[in-house]
Amino acid sequence: MPALNSNRKQKPDGMVVITISDHDLLKRMLAGEEDAFTALYRRRQAAVYRFALQMTASVVIAEDVTQEVFMELIEHGRRFDPARGALTSFLFGVARNLVLRRIEKDRSQHESELADLAAEDDVVGDLTRRQTIERVRRAVLSLPAVYREAVVLCDLEDQSYEDAAIALDCPVGTVRSRLNRGRAMLAQKLRGKKETVA
């Protein structure tokens, strides 16, 4: 069994919480431990799923992409190099490639599913707020993919510029400039919509 690189934290009530790193879970998973795979999946699936959903607004694509990302991890997890960055960045990188491929392939389906997503998203009670969120969501989705992925990773998924750069396979400076450009485009779109609504 691989040596564990774990984090021990003691809670105020005395309970000790041991957190096993992603990389250690991956090593165990690659050694055939299903529990390690399950733990890793449960830890990271939500971020991957949200990223795909935010990029495509398609629940179906988000599910497919999540499944394919973790299938890739099962099949080719040995390709992950911890020296190049966090496992999350690796997963986002795989997800990004799959998403871009699906966007290219299913371009025509996105608009129809967007309405369904908005209808399902009924957890926010305030109508105005819901409208705002829906407006922003549409504005994000209307961004070109290179700006959208930077905005989704850094602003919606709280990834650092460095991690985003690894996931997007580009220099950190490029991430910064794409993010600034994406935000500026969003501001322009949202302002224009506000004016239109007013």
Binding site: Y49, E63, F70, T132, I133, V136, D155, R183
Partner: protein
């Protein structure tokens, strides 16, 4: 509020709306199943080599055995010291014939025929040391076989037979008779 701050606030609200969203449980079930199947497949692939390795090992053993058989030296000519200590009188014509027929006899051995030879019969009472010597194929009358005690029919006494004569220190010290299997 600046436009950029407004955008960031909007994005924060959007991120909040996504919080708690997860892939459906079915995805996890599919992946766990795939993980188990892959484990089984890997184990199968690992064991798949065992019969191949076993077959290769068997072939190697057979090949080694054949090579060893091919290289194995021909059975040595029985040494004279192993000859049973039976001493018989031998007619002088055998001793005389041995060196004379040496050249002829060497050319007579058929390449493919299998030889059947008798044991060696000593031709002298006290054989000299046999550290070195020479085996010479000669042709003799069958009556020579009688001289060492082998049975020969009367009507075949004049027939020619093949024999190997062991020459040591210039003397014929032992003899065996040879015939070719058909």
């Amino acid at each position: 509020m600046k436009p950029e701050d407004e955008v960031l606030a909007d994005l924060k609200a959007l991120a909040e709306s996504y919080r708690g969203l997860e892939a459906p449980a079915g995805v996890e079930a599919n992946l766990r199943s795939a993980f188990r199947n892959r484990g089984r497949r890997r184990r199968f692939l690992a064991w798949r080599w065992i019969p191949a390795i076993a077959a290769a090992a068997i072939l190697l053993i057979i090949a080694s055995y054949r090579i060893a058989s091919y290289r194995r030296p021909a059975p040595e000519t029985p040494r004279v010291e192993n000859v049973p200590p039976v001493v018989r009188r031998v007619s002088a014509d055998i001793r005389a014939a041995a060196p004379l027929n040496r050249r002829v006899a060497r050319t007579r051995k058929p390449a493919a025929a299998q030889e059947i030879a008798t044991e060696f019969f000593p031709l002298v009472e006290f054989a000299p040391p046999v550290d070195s010597g020479e085996l010479v194929r000669v042709s003799l009358p069958a009556s020579a076989m009688r001289d060492v005690g082998l049975p020969v029919r009367e009507d075949r006494l004049a027939d020619r037979v093949q024999a190997d004569v062991f020459i040591s220190e210039g003397r014929a010290t032992a003899i065996r008779f040879v015939k070719y299997a058909q």
